[in-house]
Symmetry: C2
């Protein structure tokens, strides 16, 4: 097998190298492209998405059929499926990105020095962004459009499950670029589903990729951690926790737990684990569990949760820290704030965690001590979203601590430089 | 050799692993350490540096003797050498870091959403920072103190040339940590000069290092680019350019060129190449070259520069893009702005470049199009410095585009998270 792998990888390397080079060349053009030209391309992309809806749906049907033939789960199919309204939403999403302010060239800060030097911190593009994603085909449009708006070239690698849908969407993006006179290679899609292509991207395509944005589950996480040689904005699992700490309003706690889990189960901000203080178990545990079950959720709980409601299934260790992305939640009773924070540190993915409590000091301690991108008090984890934060469209929620953390929108897809203006100053 | 290397690397891995684990444990304590405790440690470090000046000088003498025995150059020795006033400056530097505002917990931005959610962006530590540096022993104190102030644990790996000096300085940092009741392992120094230890750090010590800050020349650059599996704040070469574009005030151009090259030749903001427009060659080239030579600089130039002054030595291709870090400069005549920008893109290191001109439009184009961390108009590249920017002490100038770019001070050594406060909101 090893001999074969080497031969295959060499082919993939040869396939990927010109993609990297073309992206770098395109990035140089994009870095100085005027806002109006980028926005014209985005408008043309949206128009193409609408005009080619039938072609996209035909391609999506191929992906859906293959997925159903493999017997995949409901949440997975929900992420993969497109219909006319989802394509319209995609087109509107691209138009919303066009309507955002151009981050490139924006002066983020400016100050003068006592010696008269005028210093500005100015946003610049990052360069070439590699996006590795899984089943959701709309990421093709979202990520391509966001990268373009921020002046970056993009290399998109959709999951093999959504490859046909993604290619049909990508064709619309290329049409938009060409219509506006921008390089067609500003947004490229990897033309193979061979996983070796991911390996080449993680190696950076010979210095042609500046940052990798991986969006996916545990196997992608592990692969990126082992192989990546370029910076990564990790958009990994969302193993989000809701923690109910006494005293807590029961109705609020139930509403937040049910919304955090059930509003949409397939998004990374969906809660996967509910932690309840032992002191509240007598009053709150049974109604919380009952509320979840009645909303259609399977509850896998520890002994206390099972004791509270006979419909609770015994949780295994693997249920805590699992990203179900489905109508399933793990429930555990904890001794208090310290155990809750330890549990989250051990089993969480540093994405989004919420505490529900009337105790402001406990809430502040939770928000202070939990090391996640988003920490919430008395709100649903499903608000973990760039749009809900008022930041516009996003490529996802970054779970790492470098550069971008939390919702990654156009501003997070930029770097900056310092522009210094003088009148002949020399340093003493 | 390979068999031996493997055995040695295994030993180094066993040596480094507990260093990583101890750093991670210390980082957890530091993340929640109060400002007063961190500042107490910094004050005690400064006191220890002063109290142990003789021990540090004795250790430095060992390093200096070994370097002189190897016949190293003046600029290298200048970076390595300590004396009482440099140790006093180091102690004052640590005190200045203590006096900076604590970045951890600072609210960078806050806004309310229409649904009543209150969102804050709050600074957090990055975690564990690995600093790989070369000859300058004062980096031990600067980097250790900056990491501590920002709530990060540090693993310092000095160059073998400065190992004795760095260990003596590190002992003062540990004394300060212990006096303030902070973990002694919050700032560790790698106890071997074996280069395999650098390899282990670049692999991240089993997930224990969050970011690597490499400070050094080309060989370190290349090693980091090939081997790093963790995020990197590249602090690499400073191949800085001064470009004189017409019309330009000759006195200003000469003063800036001489200052940019000669004020201190051993710092990364020192100019290494002077570019002069052909249109100015007749009037400006000879006086510019003459000014540099009279300031004690060796000038290596192209044909035009040689024609302008017989003292100019013929430059080779390797002189352009070389970081001399010495009283040597490369001089080249270019056709205009486009060639200057291309030359910088090809030979520069994305650190700091300056244009000297009276033409504001050309200056704006240069500042806009040159992709370096710092771009300057009518000012000396030697201003590339956190202190000169008003940002306080710095660990160096980052030349990458991720997270930190330009001067890296306490704020750049932090991450952030979003704290969201609600009153029971759920997402529709």
């Amino acid at each position: 097998m090893q001999g074969q792998t080497i031969e295959r990888d060499t082919d993939i390397e040869a396939l990927m190298r010109p993609i990297g080079k073309a992206a770098r060349d395109a990035a140089r053009v994009l870095a100085n492209a005027p806002t109006s030209q980028k926005d014209e391309a985005l408008a043309a992309m949206a128009a193409a998405l609408r005009a080619r809806t039938d072609e996209i749906l035909t391609a999506n049907a191929v992906d859906m059929q293959a997925a159903e033939a493999r017997g995949t789960t409901g949440a997975f199919l929900d992420r993969l499926k497109l219909d006319a309204s989802r394509i319209e939403a995609m087109a509107r999403g691209v138009e919303e990105i066009a309507a955002l302010a151009d981050p490139v060239g924006a002066v983020i800060a400016s100050w003068d020095r006592p010696n008269g030097l005028e210093i500005e911190r100015v946003r610049t593009p990052l360069g070439v962004i590699g996006v590795i994603f899984e089943s959701r085909p709309n990421v093709t449009a979202d990520a391509g459009a966001l990268c373009l708006k921020a002046g970056n070239a993009a290399i998109l690698r959709p999951g093999s499950e959504s490859a046909n849908s993604s290619r049909a969407i990508h064709a619309c993006l290329v049409a938009g670029l060409e219509q506006a006179g921008l390089p067609a290679k500003a947004i490229q899609i990897v033309p193979t589903t061979d996983r070796a292509a991911v390996g080449e991207m993680l190696k950076g395509l010979n210095g042609s990729i500046d940052v990798i944005v991986p969006r996916g589950g545990r196997s992608l996480v592990e692969r990126v951690q082992t192989e990546a040689r370029v910076p990564v904005f990790a958009h990994l699992e969302g193993i989000c926790h809701v923690y109910v700490h006494g005293p807590a309003d029961l109705d609020m706690a139930t509403a937040i737990a049910v919304n955090a889990k059930m509003r949409r189960t397939g998004i990374c901000g969906a809660a996967e684990t509910l932690l309840v203080d032992r002191a509240l178990a007598g009053t709150h545990l049974a109604p919380l569990v009952s509320g979840l079950i009645e909303a259609g959720c399977e509850v896998r709980g520890d002994h206390a949760a099972q004791a509270a409601d006979p419909r609770v299934i015994a949780a295994t260790d693997a249920d805590f820290g699992n990203e179900f992305l489905d109508t399933v939640i793990a429930v555990k009773v904890v001794e208090g704030l310290d155990e809750a924070i330890r549990h989250i540190a051990t089993h969480g993915s540093s994405h989004t965690e919420a505490i529900v409590t009337d105790d402001k000091a406990a809430a502040d301690a939770f928000l202070d001590r939990v090391d996640s991108a988003i920490v919430m008090h008395n709100a649903s984890t499903q608000f973990a979203d760039g749009g809900e934060f008022g930041m516009g469209a996003e490529i996802g929620i970054a779970t790492g601590r470098m550069h971008a953390r939390g919702p990654v929108g156009v501003e997070q897809l930029t770097s900056f430089k310092y522009a210094v203006r003088g009148r002949g100053q020399t340093r003493p």
